[in-house]
């Protein structure tokens, strides 16, 4: 018999957060929707434009190019950082002072603000004073991120890998730590190979943290702004202009509030869709599997 008193009043404790979110997210978002259908010239001077901004934004070839570039960037980032992060987590020391030391070393890049990361790499890659830029030039490689778009791309990817792989590694490390020793003992009894241990014990147990890692890395790389802005300013040409920078140029640089509002909404819907698909697929994959003991 269930004699527990049913009381859902604890939900009221969520109210302050709800009010906060309303003011920090919902009301501003509603305002963006309002802006997206008007040409707002100033207080009390706005014209209803209907769907015009959406039409022009969706057919803007520069934005379409930025969108493709953005997808490519996020996929490259995920393809490098997720396997690399798992790999690093697997070889990190498990106990003792080495474990703490490695954890601290690995966390360092995460503590650096985005635009500082951009500045660090901007100086690092300069041909005259930067260690990497100067070194590559001395080796006879024509490396110049302000002139070759390939170089700029590689550098931005490298910078993001340097900055954010630690996050994936730390998430995976915590996931690996939470696997009970009994699984490894059972694997040893079965004389399972290292690969089998990874494939059938470690990887399945990492699914939860990997969902979080993939989602965080996707969303952040999809919205990346400060680092490429400081490093390349979107150039050379527009070869590293990602979506948020295209948006900022339009909204802040040119004060085109209506078109930028329409563009923001499209951007938001894409992020919402991708995040939802990611989340549902991975959560669904888990639900289909027969329940295992332990976690």
């Amino acid at each position: 018999m269930n004699n527990k008193v049913s009381n859902n009043r604890a939900w009221l404790l969520v109210l302050p957060m709800l009010v906060l979110v309303a003011f920090s997210a919902i009301i501003p978002l509603m305002t963006v929707v309002n802006y997206s259908v008007q040409d707002v010239l100033g207080p009390n001077a706005s014209f209803f434009t209907g769907t015009e901004w959406f039409k022009s934004m969706l057919n803007d070839s520069a934005l379409q190019a930025a969108f493709v570039r953005q997808i490519a960037f996020s996929l490259v980032i995920l393809a490098i950082q997720i396997p690399l992060g798992i790999g690093i987590a697997l070889i990190m020391p498990k106990r003792g002072w080495q474990a703490s030391a490695v954890l601290i070393l690995i966390t360092l890049p995460l503590l650096i603000p985005w635009n500082v990361v951009g500045s660090i790499w901007q100086i690092f890659t300069r041909g005259d004073i930067g260690l990497m830029g100067w070194g590559l030039r001395e080796l006879g490689i024509d490396y110049n991120i302000t002139r070759h778009s390939g170089d700029a791309w590689v550098t931005i990817v490298l910078m993001d890998v340097w900055h954010w792989t630690p996050l994936v590694a730390m998430l995976c490390y915590s996931g690996l730590r939470s696997i009970p020793e009994a699984y490894y003992q059972a694997a040893r009894i079965d004389r399972a190979s290292k690969w089998a241990v990874f494939r059938y014990i470690q990887l399945p147990k990492l699914t939860n943290v990997l969902v979080i890692a993939v989602l965080l890395r996707f969303m952040h790389s999809f919205m990346i702004y400060a680092e490429p802005f400081v490093l390349t300013g979107g150039g050379p040409g527009s070869s590293t202009t990602f979506l948020s920078q295209a948006l900022t140029t339009m909204a802040v640089g040119q004060q085109d509030l209506g078109p930028s509002a329409a563009f923001s909404l499209i951007y938001f819907l894409v992020i919402l869709l991708v995040s939802w698909v990611f989340y549902t697929t991975i959560m669904h994959m888990q639900k289909d599997k027969p329940p295992q003991g332990g976690a």
Partner: protein, 91 residues
Amino acid sequence: MMSWMVWTLPTALFFSSIAAMLAGMTVWEIVSPTIERKGFLPIATTRGDRLFIGLLSAAFIHLGVIGFTSLSIWIALAVSAVWLLVLMRWG
């Protein structure tokens, strides 16, 4: 007081209907709690999941119609409404 939000009639109607949907779903949930089930969608969904999928796809239907066809937005709205109903009933 709300003039900074530059409300227009269409957007006000839009948000009112969203709010009405959410309120309606809440009442429906209290009257008869949802049961997760499998329809024509590849995943098992609750009522709220189907509403979310319906609204999100409606947004993309509208964007597609506005951006890449010369059809009226009312066609997009009609298609979305029918799609939402189909989804809620059989999804």
